[in-house]
């Protein structure tokens, strides 16, 4: 789980230079997320963790923080494992 969070942090750190992003940090509140990054984040999560982000997954809370993204990926993995 920590490895997954580390991968998400590494990906985001390119876009949040000069800002130490904590696990609970709200990436939308920081004001750096434009539509390019929002969609790129979806593509990153899909490719890196082999999940499919569906239309019903479009909820800002799923992508708000590293912890939220980690939990979201975990839920998607649990669903696909069933």
């Amino acid at each position: 789980m920590d490895a997954r969070k580390a991968k998400i942090r590494t990906f985001l750190s390119r876009f949040f230079k000069n800002h130490e992003l904590g696990d609970e940090g709200d990436i939308f509140a920081l004001g750096f997320v434009n539509s390019l990054l929002a969609l790129q984040l979806v593509n990153f999560l899909q490719k890196e963790f082999e999940i499919v982000v569906d239309d019903e997954d479009l909820d800002l809370d799923n992508f708000r923080s590293i912890n939220n993204m980690n939990a979201f990926v975990e839920r998607k993995n649990a669903i696909s494992a069933k």
Partner: protein
């Protein structure tokens, strides 16, 4: 590192070129003059599987990104208005299939994948262009329906499209809706007298209390621009980038032919060094644009998250190069370049469009400058 087309991709390119030479090049000037491409070419595109080509079909996967780029370049080499049909249909179809719900996809998925239902993007409005998030078209939920009201402008192939992807404001947030053209309250007004890609059947679309089923919402409310339209425009930029390479190549082909035949001061134009300079610039820059497109296509085929940013760069460079190449092509043709006897004035008009659509050059500059690119 390998920069080489596969055997299949090379064979496909030959097939595309042959199709364009037979079905597009002889008619492009007439379509431009008529301000409409013919229904016959649309049917031929369908029959050859060129509409909806990147979409997976029951028979197999969709066309890979590089092959799709080659198709787009070849089509644009013949006619940018035909290229713009592929661009708008494919980008909306892919966006709807990516973010539409199961019920919607079950209804229209196979029709748009085969190009039987033509798609168009109804994004811009009379007062809204680059700042797309400022759209004023409204959508309100009412029972099992959404009711849409507003006016869209510059909708490519809006005169004949079967489905419009509409960006609207819903409960204060942006949302994307698929609106069938047959919906009561949809009125389309043809736009004529357009300077470039003028056979692409532009229209203004008025939505007067249009009622659509709830499941025609694409994505979720609040994600209409950030995820749905952004995804759509990303594909559009990839297509326009390759289309720009096609225009530049068409300019180069026309100039190599013209400067080899036309004589001034006792020798062929190509023997003059200042002509050679222009030809060299066209050759080098067109190859550079194509390489940027290959890179974007390669990353897209790997589902690399960085593909969107590389596509921005490819579109930015390729569209600027198309304008430069077309401008030089007209110059090399002299007075002939200003006449309809030669295609280069059409190429110049069409090239200018690529610098404006799917994000203008200036919007690309803002986005690219801020993006944290890594090393290639």
């Amino acid at each position: 590192m390998q920069l080489e087309l596969s055997k299949e991709q090379s064979e496909q390119r030959v097939r595309f070129r042959s199709f364009v030479q037979e079905h597009i090049v002889p008619y492009a000037a007439q379509w431009d003059s008529d301000q409409r491409i013919s229904p016959r070419i649309i049917e031929q595109l369908r029959q050859h599987g060129f509409l909806g080509a990147p979409i997976a079909q029951p028979a197999g996967p969709g066309m890979d990104a590089i092959t799709y780029g080659l198709l787009t370049e070849e089509i644009a080499r013949g006619c940018s208005s035909v290229r713009s049909l592929l661009t708008v249909h494919d980008m909306v179809a892919l966006g709807v299939l990516r973010w539409g719900n199961r019920e919607l996809k079950a209804e229209i998925g196979s029709g748009i994948a085969r190009g039987e239902l033509l798609c168009a993007l109804a994004l811009s409005e009379p007062e809204v262009g680059s700042d797309a998030t400022a759209v004023t078209t409204e959508a309100r939920p009412e029972g099992d329906e959404y009711v849409l009201q507003g006016r869209k402008k510059w909708t490519t192939f809006g005169q004949i499209a079967d489905l419009f992807l509409v960006l609207a404001r819903c409960e204060g947030k942006l949302a994307a809706f698929l609106v069938p053209a047959k919906t009561a309250g949809v009125h389309r007004t043809p736009m004529t007298g357009i300077v470039g890609t003028r056979a692409s059947l532009l229209a203004e679309i008025e939505l007067k209390q249009c009622r659509i089923p709830k499941h025609y919402l694409v994505g979720r409310v609040g994600f209409g621009f950030s995820h749905v339209v952004s995804q759509v425009l990303d594909h559009g930029r990839y297509s326009v980038a390759w289309g720009s390479v096609g225009i530049a190549q068409a300019c180069l082909d026309a100039c190599l032919d013209y400067t080899a035949k036309r004589k001034q001061f006792g020798v062929e134009l190509r023997e003059h060094q200042l002509v050679q300079r222009k030809l060299t610039e066209m050759i080098a820059n067109s190859r550079a644009a194509r390489l940027l497109c290959y890179r974007a296509g390669y990353l897209r085929s790997m589902d690399d998250p960085g593909a969107m940013a590389e596509t921005l760069v490819a579109k930015y460079f390729a569209s600027k190069n198309a304008v430069r190449a077309a401008n030089d092509a007209v110059q090399l043709h002299g007075a002939n370049g200003l006449s309809e006897e030669y295609p280069v004035s059409r190429f110049l008009r069409d090239a200018k469009v690529t610098e404006i659509i799917e994000g203008s050059t200036q919007i690309q500059q803002i986005t690219i400058a801020k993006y944290p690119f890594g090393e290639i």
